[in-house]
Symmetry: C2
Subunit: 407 residues, 2 copies
């Protein structure tokens, strides 16, 4: 939680931190400013002190909404930092020590800035932390209830949109090639479906800022293939629908996946889906407060392994079929954050009180033209119960309203 | 244009370039891959050779859509780069020389990566360029016709949405306090209007990825105040509506502003609006192929200065009223790119054949509760004509359908 930042700075021996960039879609800046339209800003916080925010004078009112002390600059904070780093650091009474640097920014500018700062402030050591375990990621890992409420609200928006997509798909006519057909007689495409998804999200104050995965057949067999917009929708093919929208304006994410087969399912697909669902259920039954997240990744690999699938634990090198990824991840202002579940993660990735995390086992067989994943997001409550943040049915076959299988 | 990259690398004495990050919302990566759902990737291009793209194996099909040579990695390209920079550079036959580094990425990771690369490859010099004049910004400055077509399409979507917003606003009822009232009797708020904007953009394959400005009264007097969602809409107040959406998925932007006063305008507001419009028209009449963009900023400052307003050329320090910004900027995969028009810009910021740029004079008087800006985007065609990419009327007062001023 945000209140931990000073202690985390202490533990990493940081005397101050700087955060660079926009407030939107830049989690450390959003976390400390609360978002808003502030671009290329500079936030400086000494350990134990309040943060101050340097901004472009044109954005001073947006910056002021953060509640922080604002210092407007004529040409923007970054311009000022390049020209007058010594003055800024003198004003903030930072003459020496270790300063952590955070945010998302242009790579070339950062390389130049580090040279500029080292020359201007030879007694200050500027420190980069790896993102996954930075003080921000550790602070963000445990959520306040107000943050959980925002994620839950995104979960409601997400599952409403998923329900609308399911109703939309199953209301279509089907031609003799088992292709879904629109009212104008043209086949329904993935592009059509994605346009609807964006629209229905926007109606709910959400945006698919990092895209969404809606892929069919062989593409569904590759976990991060987002789906080809021109592909048509056909019965009896697996569809992986992984949707991870954020609050409009760059806030909190939700993350959710269902796998569908329209009209009917091939027996092999049904069998594989059932395996994924039974592994999902086994994991959920076993989730415990403060457990090491990696334990569940191992459990998932064991379960899939004993059913004859490749997993990251029984196979070396690049994995392209079987269970090819890790079980889940934390979720918040970043779509992927702590805790992580890779079997190579450190042992502090635990399901502590306050974490919000996904559980998402899957199986992938691109050469068979099929893939499967089930994903929900959970909050580990202070009472030790893992609460599902948005409910949605687990049906694999979605019956078509205007089509029935031949007997 | 993209075809200039090798020459630009030569002119900056770069033997190779690396681009880091996602394809979406990361212009250098989008420019070379064509977008798609590729995250935390690594692109390497030697001068005179084709680019290769290291990606996460889960994203190999998305990466392949770029048409580049793809190298899938088990845990992602960045992981591979940290662990095996020497191997990657040996495979690409880069043993020494200067390598430019580009993209948008996590700041802490970049600081660490630069240390790692310097240690692993002591004979390679890794170079950061300032973003505004990097080889990418110079290449992107002049557009191919296919790029202009995409920007024009965003212009059409943008002006359609602006027209819908105008019709939406003017269709509302007005109460005795001159506040716009919804059907349910509650006042119409800026938040309501912004929700409609997001929705209408999504319907057109566009997204306000960097937000949009819809601000009224005093907020309109501060160029980058985006507007307070809870503020109600009232007659006779200036509304600055600056909308800069991009193609969904992180592609090309459009940029557009109108200033409105609903129902009627205060005489002082009308006078200031007319000044902005006449300066806008004077600039457009004078635009010439290959002219120095700064000339028009000076012309704008002269015009506003002789009407008694403060400008960046007649005032030192932080400017908060008058004409407080520069005249325009290039536009493409970045909402702000070359050419620039600040009077402190370098003399190679010219209106060359192929540039797409905004013209956006404005006046700001926050203490009077008013602000004004008119902005359109133009393409400098090869035949030397500056083509307006999307037409929209310049009316200041928007008559309300259900309200008339008392006589």
């Amino acid at each position: 939680m945000k209140s931990e930042l000073d202690n985390l700075m202490q533990s990493k021996n940081l005397d101050a931190i700087m955060v660079l960039g926009n407030a939107e879609n830049n989690p450390p800046m959003y976390y400390l400013t609360g978002g808003g339209h502030v671009s290329d800003a500079l936030l400086i916080k000494k350990r134990g002190a309040d943060a101050v925010l340097y901004c472009n004078a044109m954005e001073r009112d947006e910056a002021a909404k953060s509640g922080l002390k604002i210092i407007p600059t004529r040409l923007g904070a970054m311009d000022e930092l390049f020209k007058n780093a010594k003055g800024i650091f003198a004003d903030q009474k930072i003459g020496a020590g270790r300063v952590g640097v955070y945010g998302t920014f242009d790579v070339g500018v950062i390389i130049r800035l580090m040279d500029t700062l080292k020359n201007a402030l030879p007694d200050v050591e500027f420190v980069g932390e790896m993102k996954d375990n930075s003080i921000f990621m550790v602070a963000m890992e445990t959520k306040e209830e107000s943050e959980v409420a925002r994620i839950r609200k995104m979960g409601k928006a997400t599952t409403e949109v998923v329900g609308k997509v399911a109703a939309f798909l199953t209301s279509h006519k089907v031609d003799e090639n088992e292709t879904l057909i629109k009212e104008d007689g043209a086949p329904l495409t993935i592009g059509d479906v994605k346009n609807k998804i964006s629209l229905w999200l926007a109606e709910r104050g959400a945006a698919d800022v990092e895209g969404c995965i809606f892929s069919i057949g062989r593409d569904a067999g590759i976990p991060h293939s987002i789906g080809n917009p021109a592909d048509v929708l056909r019965l009896g093919k697996t569809i992986v629908f992984d949707i991870f929208p954020a609050e409009s304006g760059g806030g909190y994410f939700y993350d959710f996946t269902r796998t569908w087969s329209l009209g009917y399912a091939a027996p092999e697909a049904q069998k594989l889906y059932d395996e994924v669902q039974s592994v999902y259920e086994k994991i959920i039954e076993n989730i415990d407060l403060n457990a090491d997240f990696r334990v569940y990744q191992k459990m998932t690999c064991d379960e899939f392994g004993k059913r004859g699938h490749k997993t990251p634990m029984n196979t070396e090198g690049v994995l392209t079929d079987g269970y090819v990824h890790s079980l889940g991840h934390g979720l918040g202002l970043n779509v992927h954050e702590r805790p992580g579940s890779r079997h190579t993660a450190s042992d502090d990735n635990r399901l502590k009180s306050g974490v919000v995390f996904t559980i998402e086992p899957g199986l992938y067989y691109p050469e068979k033209g099929m893939g499967f994943r089930i994903e929900d997001s959970y909050w580990m409550r202070p009472d030790g119960k893992a609460e599902l943040l948005a409910e949605y049915p687990y049906d694999f076959v979605l019956p078509m309203k205007n089509w029935k299988p031949a007997n």
